[in-house]
């Protein structure tokens, strides 16, 4: 049975005259890997901020993990995880301190944190680095750790904002293995990326152009619809028509 964990209906955000996100409508199912693509300035970040309970929509409706984006933003925050390349872990805290800090914020009990930390470090082969400052870790390890920390409290949904920028091709694939494993456990993955091969790893992909969702389907169907060999071609066809560009 499909079970929607994100439902979005005509969600809109205006900044003055500027319509950053323009009546977007979609649903994301439990355990789905949902790719949220768009050119710089298409309105992805604004949409994502509304879904994370960080920005009040101008109109439309949406629920995330069953909670309303207008009235239950605190509930939403408790039930999601978030990771971006720009902001994730505290560089001046150790690996264990970062885990304890985030788990604490999400209200996990100390014994549970302790037990799960040991498991996680073991799984990531980071046990020898437990007391190492995060800034001393290689980028690839940091990103894998950041993702694991973002889902440490077993959220229903995790939002990943360009999580894999700049890492080597092997680490990038190890990272995607972690994503797949989380999805198998029933965690819904909402991910943005500029790597078009990663769009292929998603169950479904939406492509935003100038604030609207121009296309939403499986990668396979999108390629069929746009008569394209790769997702890169699909993206170029759609985003070439974009009028605006911004970060």
């Amino acid at each position: 049975m499909k079970e929607a964990v994100i439902t979005v209906n005509k969600l809109t955000k205006k900044f003055g005259d500027f319509i950053a996100t323009n009546e977007v409508t979609f649903e994301v199912d439990k355990g789905e890997i949902f790719g949220f693509l768009g050119a710089n300035g298409a309105g992805k970040t604004t949409a994502m901020r509304m879904l994370c309970g960080l920005s009040m929509p101008s109109s439309g409706s949406a629920t995330v993990a069953g909670f309303d984006v207008y009235k239950q933003t605190e509930k939403i925050k408790q039930n999601i995880g978030y990771m971006s390349q720009k902001f994730s872990l505290y560089e001046d805290l150790t690996v264990t301190e970062n885990i304890r800090f985030y788990a604490g914020i999400y209200g996990m009990a100390r014994p549970a944190i302790k037990e799960k930390t040991a498991q996680l470090l073991n799984q990531l082969n980071l046990t020898p680095e437990a007391n190492t400052l995060v800034k001393a870790l290689p980028l690839g390890w940091k990103q894998k750790l950041a993702f694991s920390v973002a889902i440490f409290h077993e959220p229903k949904i995790v939002f990943l904002d360009e999580p894999t920028g700049g890492v080597d091709p092997i680490t990038r694939r190890e990272f995607w293995n972690l994503i797949y494993q989380a999805a198998e456990r029933g965690i819904t993955i909402f991910v943005t990326t500029h790597y078009m091969d990663e769009a292929e790893y998603c169950n479904r992909v939406s492509i935003m152009v100038d604030g609207k969702i121009e296309a939403l389907d499986t990668p396979r169907n999108l390629k069929k619809t746009y008569n394209a060999k790769s997702m890169d071609e699909v993206f170029l066809q759609l985003a070439r028509g974009a009028k605006r560009s911004d970060d």
């Binding site: 050119a39 710089n40 920028g165 078009m196 292929e200 170029l236 974009a242 911004d246």
Partner: protein, 306 residues
Amino acid sequence: MQAVTVDHIVKKYGSKKETVTALDDVSLEVAKGELFGVIGPDGAGKTSLFRILTTLLLADAGNAAVDGFDVVKQYKEIRNRIGYMPGKFSLYQDLSVEENLRFFATIFNTSIEENYDLIKEIYFQLEPFKTRRAGKLSGGMKQKLALCCALIHRPVVLFLDEPTTGVDAVSRKEFWEMLRNLKKQGISILVSTPYMDEAELCDRVALIQSGKIMSIDSPQSIIKQFTKKMWSVRSAEMFRLLNDLQQYSNTEKCYAFGEFHHLVLKNDAEGMDPVMHYLEHLSHHEIEMQVTQPNIEDCFIELMSQ
């Protein structure tokens, strides 16, 4: 004479107790008029190399020259002859588009008018916004302005450090079109990028990882050196397929690659039939398998695991 010569360069950071080797005995040459790519992930040493060549950082060992001038003894000559676009946006946020451009032109004792033909195609798109402050520009426009400022004194060699990082696929494509046009004007270009697919747009590339150059050649030749047969495989359940193929006894290597998984077999004598049998036995369906052409990313993965 080469545009750039790098001869056994070593660069280390940190204290005696804890040293990080950013560049480990790196040597390369860039010919005049060449579009040369330095391809590697974050932390590979790309920026250190660029900063040494632009005379902003001293190497611990080795020599380097740009346009025939030594990066240590003749740094002043080099600074007049090169254009440098650092990875981080480094223009004056509080100056307008035009003011930034005029400022950089003046520093190099020239004027916008004198070299306008070189930047015309790029600046043309910025001109409607020339009174806007640089800090208020979009990402793509900032990138174009930075490129104009790096070009305004008509440099002999252009250094672009990760100009396309974090930029969407459309803007990346446009940027590479601009580079190809600049190459036609005879400017030698050194560009670094973590995006493997951009390698194919360069004349030659250096693949770099952990401070070491793994391979230097034209993208076509690097791909030719990949002599193993590469299979692409897909089925209805891609993640299970990946795990199953990685467990398969005759698998040398298998990893996700966009729409397909790429598979290299230990022994290729029997072809695809045994693999198909194995997968059917594990009740995979909609299986597709065919021989495919490796690309630079496959080569990078192969070189990393040697």
